[in-house]
Amino acid sequence: MNLRVVFETFKIALKDRMAYRTDFIADVLIGPLIFLVVQFLWTNIYTYNNITEINGFTLNDSISYLAVSTIVGYFVWTWVTTTVGMKIKRGDFARYVIMPINFLDYTLVELFGRKVPSMLIKAPLLFLLLKIFFNVHVADLPHFILFIGSMVFSYLLFNIFMFIMGLLTFWQESFWVFNMLGSAIIEFFSGWLLPIDFYPSFMKPIIEILPFRHIYYSPIMIFLEKYSISSSIQVLVSQFFSVIILYLLARLILRLGRAKFTSQGG
């Protein structure tokens, strides 16, 4: 897709997203709820056991991890599986076949356009609140820049993987199952609520092979300055290659799935 198409798709998706203000406000208010619940849990674990550190994480580290995880969630999380699944199941996928675009690229840009309000308004707003009330750790400038770069790859990894889950609707129409399955895989293997350092040691080699840790764990660790600058750059390179592999896989599955498309509904 050329840059003009990317720009126009991005622009129209952004405008489309801004059409419903109530949705947007509700979204801002719902986001921090999980954070508050898990934060209570952490505070209780540390104070009840009278401990200052678990696996190298202080209470402030753990709460900061959770806070940054909420911010990363705002950046990466979309309804891509159900959007793609629904388009395939109801036949709207046909609309994308007749246009001179690639469905995967178009979907990624479209969803990114819809994400921008979250990224530019919700995330900084929430982070400011978390900083004031929970004294969340703030990265220095080099780590912050690397964190932003890492989040772009997180966005791509999350959405390409969940796009693939949506594509499975070509073979089996129950896309809700794929949505749940994909979400469960990411929540479990990405370090969404818990740093991977807390996982049992036998699981760590598996998590190291899979790309999902790069969705939450890696950018959070960069932001918390748990990685040096050179390690952070290595993480970005590893994220880049994971994106390439997943992207090629998604293109292949899309190609195979297209042949299965039945275009229901007129």
Binding site: V5, E8, M99, G266
Partner: protein, 330 residues
């Protein structure tokens, strides 16, 4: 000799579907063991379409019209047979082909729902790589021909069906496609909207020699827009020729209405049965082979009767098509 731009030979499409019984027990059964049945949606059809032709695909619901259009646009992969549009295979060479055609599915929309239609036009401009001057020129044409100037800046969700359809139609002409596939483009559109759409399509066809393949259940639209009809039933082609021939071949009777200055006291007229339909108005049914002209001359020459009004009523296309589908005709 002019080469066809659409070629279809022995084209077939079958779908595999799971049979599912009604009720809880049957649902449970089909969860464990699924009965698969194969449905032949299109069955070895063949036709060619030349550049600039205006062709209607006519058929009942489920006859295979939309499936054919979806194969021609690369949406569906044909099961068997040959298919070529502008010398390209629509499914295999989709990205090369789809800048050259425009498609409307009356049941779906290309316009973004929550933003003004003009935003979708600009997105298409980028997608189809339309030059600024070409874009402005065509925008001017579609704006005036389709009467959509005031709708383009309104969010699409706030437009009526007819207004939206006109905006959709304008959109697919922005990249000056060589072929347009229109699947039920006038569904739910009022008479004024339909007239605008018809005039626009004829104008575009004349000016740019755009090939039009239309599927519609509205025979008035078919007659107004197309010259040729392909009738599909059960996935097979029943008829493929000029719409005029359809009338010639499938109409087997005509009705003559005559109004006289006073009522007649007879049951027949020059050997034909008279059926009274008003005080001094009668109808006479003629077989297609009978010469109405000669009969009419005899009546007009008869000085004992004064004829005030004459009209000949032909079956309309709707009637002909219905009879074909109901198996009443050859």
């Amino acid at each position: 000799m002019e080469q066809p731009i659409i070629r279809v030979k022995d084209l077939s499409k079958t779908f595999r579907t799971h049979k599912r019984g009604a009720g809880f027990i049957n649902s449970l059964k089909s969860f464990i063991k699924r009965d698969v049945f194969v449905k032949k949606a299109v069955d070895r059809i063949s036709f060619d379409i030349k550049e600039g032709e205006r062709v209607a695909l006519i058929g009942q619901n489920g006859a295979g019209k939309s499936t054919t259009v979806k194969m021609l646009t690369g949406i569906l992969k044909p099961t068997n047979g040959e298919i070529s549009v502008l010398n390209l295979h629509p499914f295999k060479e989709r990205t090369k082909l789809n800048k050259n055609y425009g498609v409307i599915f009356g049941q779906r929309h290309n316009l973004w729902w929550d933003v003004p239609a003009i935003d979708s036009y600009y997105l298409f401009k980028a997608m189809y790589d339309i030059r600024d001057d070409d874009f402005e020129k065509r925008l001017k044409i579609v704006r005036s021909s389709l009467g959509i100037k005031e709708y383009l800046n309104t969010p699409v969700r706030k437009l009526s069906l007819g207004e939206r359809m006109r905006c959709e139609l304008g959109l697919i002409f922005m990249h000056n496609p060589k072929i347009v596939f229109l699947d039920e483009p006038t569904i739910g559109v009022d008479v004024v909207g339909k007239k605008k759409i018809t005039e626009f399509l004829l104008r575009i066809n004349k000016r740019f020699n755009t090939t039009i393949l239309l599927t519609s259940h509205d025979m008035k639209d078919v007659e107004n827009i197309c010259k040729r009809a392909i009738i599909i039933e059960g996935g097979k082609i029943l008829f493929d020729d000029k719409i005029g021939y359809l009338k010639r071949d499938y109409i087997d009777s005509k009705t003559l209405h005559l109004k006289f200055s006073k009522p007649l006291d007879q049951k027949t007229l020059f050997g034909k049965d008279l059926e009274r339909i008003g005080t001094s108005r009668y109808q006479i049914i003629f077989d297609n082979k009978e010469d109405i002209g000669r009969f009419l001359k005899q009546v007009l020459d008869d000085s004992s009767k004064e004829v005030l009004d004459v009209s000949i009523i032909e079956e309309d296309l709707n009637e002909i098509i219905r009879n074909i589908f109901e198996g009443k005709r050859k």
